[in-house]
Amino acid sequence: MATSMVIGLPRKTLLRDKLPTLDAIEQAVAIARQTFLLFISVAEETAA
């Protein structure tokens, strides 16, 4: 549950058929985090 809350998706959503395993959930969270950080880094580079 804590993992799913990192990116704000409701637990019931993440645990359905699209992401049926903990590994799949963690993978989705990891790439969401990386994509978010990419946004941040581009913004910081531009502001620098």
């Binding site: 990116i7 998706l9 959503t13 993440l14 359905r16 699209k18 992401l19 799949a24 959930i25 993978q27 989705a28 969270v29 990891a30 790439i31 969401a32 990386q34 994509t35 978010f36 950080l37 990419l38 946004f39 880094s41 581009v42 913004a43 910081e44 580079e45 531009t46 502001a47």
Partner: protein, 135 residues
Amino acid sequence: MFACLLSKGVSRDDYVQALAALQRLYAGLENALMQGLQQHAPDYPYIPRLPLLHRDLAQLGGAFALNPRLPPAAITGMANTLGTLYVIEGSMLGGTLLKCHLQSKLGDAVTDALAFYGLNGNIYGHWTATQNLAT
């Protein structure tokens, strides 16, 4: 950088700079995302953002980026596709507010250069589609 878009003193140059940064990001990310969607969610109504950014930048006379940022990882599975899409579509949720603010502060200078943040007037529809895809 993006915070200044909502400031009272936002300038046309601020907006061009933000669009150029987004264009760099999408130039590296969007194609991979669209390939993931084609494979795992072919019916998802994704609207390519790069052409919208190009259109807005062209209207403002901004330069296109030559150094796109690479995606953080290959978008090859459903989990990667959903995770990336969640951030991409979620990042658009403030678009309506930004569009109104930019129109109000910059007026005619940006009227024809708000395609990206307007997203065909259906930002929340895309967010709903993202949520539906995940369920």
